[in-house]
């Protein structure tokens, strides 16, 4: 039986008086290694904020996050990323002055990133392999035709896929995706769902925030529902679909079936 890879304990985040995550008692849940978790909830429920807390972009007001046995308190977000955590953002974030390919390459850990090897030129030998890898990642998300373009030429959906590609090249142990299908067309959604299930099969842990439930319910094996920062429900997709609390707060009537 696999163990808990990510543990969130009594996590709370307040903005001024607003309790965005954790309400009064704090939010707690855990994610097993190799599982595929969907994180859903009404708008403003605190899903993105939870991601930001886990990945170290925001500091929690209280509570803690433990990743693979490491307490992430006071660990910088770049170090958390180095521990094997990958994430995308709800509003896509691209490096605007770089080309599509370079945007993906930034995700890779290149040996040419310390000054010594830059000055000695030692990094050059490993670069071609990385470029191949980056191109493969771009092909996987359907951007193979746009490798050399500057990212400011990409449309909204394309940017989102670019961000996924940047994570793919990093081989993260656990990947957090914030609304990966928003603005992505149905055919690409199919690609995406394939990518995600593949990643899952490779044994990676995934947490996905989505409002596109057709998409999510068909691939996730566990769903966590947040409402106003607190855990409303959790269970398999089937259980969630029929949970009256979830239906009332989130799904609306028509999904109840």
């Amino acid at each position: 039986m696999s163990s808990d890879l990510l543990v969130v304990e009594n996590l709370r985040k307040q903005f001024g008086g607003l309790k965005a995550v954790g309400g009064d008692d704090g939010l707690s849940f855990s994610v097993k290694e190799g599982s595929f978790v969907g994180l859903i909830g009404p708008n403003g429920a605190g899903k993105s904020t939870t991601f930001n807390l886990i990945s170290g972009v925001l500091e929690p007001t209280a509570g803690r996050v433990v990743l693979a046995g490491t307490d992430l308190a006071n660990v910088r977000s770049s170090d958390i990323a180095s521990l094997g955590l990958g994430r995308t953002f709800q509003t896509p974030r691209a490096f605007m002055s770089l080309s599509v390919l370079d945007n993906v390459l930034v995700g890779a850990k290149s040996s040419g990133e310390n000054l010594r090897s830059v000055l000695l030129g030692g990094w050059r030998s490993s670069e071609p392999a990385l470029i191949e890898k980056a191109k493969a990642a771009l092909t996987r998300v359907g951007l193979e035709d746009r490798v050399t373009e500057t990212v400011s030429n990409l449309s909204g959906g394309e940017l989102r896929m670019l961000e996924v590609a940047r994570q793919l090249i990093r081989d993260p142990k656990i990947l957090l995706l914030d609304e990966p299908t928003a603005g992505v067309d149905p055919s690409l959604q199919g690609k995406l769902s394939k990518i995600l299930t593949d990643l899952h099969k490779e044994g990676r842990t995934l947490i996905v925030v989505e409002h596109n439930l057709h998409f999510l319910f068909s691939i996730a094996d566990q769903i966590i529902v947040l409402q106003q920062g607190e855990l409303l429900s959790s269970g398999t997709p089937q259980e969630i679909k029929t949970d009256p609390k979830v239906v009332a707060a989130y799904l609306g009537d028509e999904h109840a079936a």
Binding site: S55, R93, L115, V118
Partner: protein, 289 residues
């Protein structure tokens, strides 16, 4: 004129965070190290009378140290705030050098700064300095090139574009920014030393915010992104200044009018160049991506 032209040239080659402070730090370090020990009316405390090359190294080290001192606390700042805070540091340094007479002799500055003897290698002074300036420029551009064209440069660009996203893929934003900050200060320090040699004088008056403006202007005139553009911009700026100044006046009244007209012309031409951006276009045309 050639000397000064090339000096500016070298100066313009320093991209990124080029501010007068590191320039001054270099110049002062050079002067202090090569200066004779204080005597008579001098109010400075140090003077090591070292040969010029020690002074030169000291200049690099000094600007490096100053960059470390200023870079460390400003790491948290971004964009304009960072630029303006280094600017603030430059002002502080300026005011400090002006008031603290024990280091650089206050507003008088250190004069009669040592210069290397080029006649030993059979060069006239002007050509000697010109050559050194060009050499420094070439070395610096090569270094910049090498750094910027590597994955390191890619990471630096990424950090500049979006820090949060760069951190999310494991880039140590602090380290990268700090390193690039410090590295880019060193050539500026060297240029400062060179400058001190050429003018044989360092004084707070030489290192005012105007120098920083000058660098910015050169950067923008040439378009910020290519090293080539920067060099072109600087050259254009210097040439332009020289052209405006090359007119000579034989009566006082004419010179007087010219002085104010010159300012206006300079201003007008900036505005016009920026509006139509000829250098950027030229640099882009020639630049290999």
């Amino acid at each position: 004129m050639t000397v000064c032209l090339n000096l500016q040239y070298a100066r313009g080659g320093m991209i990124n965070f080029g501010t007068v402070a590191y320039f001054a730090a270099g110049a002062y370090a050079y002067a202090i190290f090569t200066q004779e020990p204080p005597k008579g009316l001098d109010q400075y405390l140090f003077g090591f009378d070292a040969p010029w090359w020690i002074g030169f190294i000291a200049a690099g080290v000094a600007s490096l140290l100053f960059a470390i001192i200023t870079g460390w606390p400003t790491l948290r700042l971004r964009g304009e705030y960072l630029a303006l805070t280094t600017f603030a540091f430059a002002e502080v340094l300026h005011s400090f050098l002006l008031n603290e007479r024990r280091i650089g002799n206050g507003s008088v500055g250190l004069s009669n700064v040592d210069r290397p003897d080029f006649s030993a290698i059979g060069l006239s002074e002007n050509y000697g300095f010109m050559l050194s300036a060009v050499l420094l420029l070439i070395l610096t551009s090569l270094l910049c090139r090498r750094i910027l064209a590597s994955p390191y440069g890619r990471a630096v660009d990424a950090v500049r574009d979006d820090e949060v996203a760069a951190e999310a893929v494991g880039k140590d934003v602090h380290r990268l920014r700090f390193e690039i900050f410090v590295i880019s200060a060193v050539p500026i320090g060297f240029a400062g030393a060179l400058y001190a040699m050429i003018t044989t004088l360092v004084s707070p008056d030489l290192f005012t915010a105007e120098v920083t403006f000058f660098v910015w202007i050169a950067l923008v005139l040439g378009g910020e992104h290519t090293i080539k553009g920067v060099i072109l911009g600087t050259l254009a700026l210097v040439t332009f200044e020289e052209v405006v100044r090359s007119l000579h006046f034989e009566t006082v009244r004419a010179a007087e009018i010219a002085a104010s007209v010159e300012y206006m012309m300079t201003g007008l031409i900036f505005v016009m160049i920026l509006r139509w951006q000829p250098f950027t276009r030229f640099a882009k045309k020639g630049a290999t991506p």
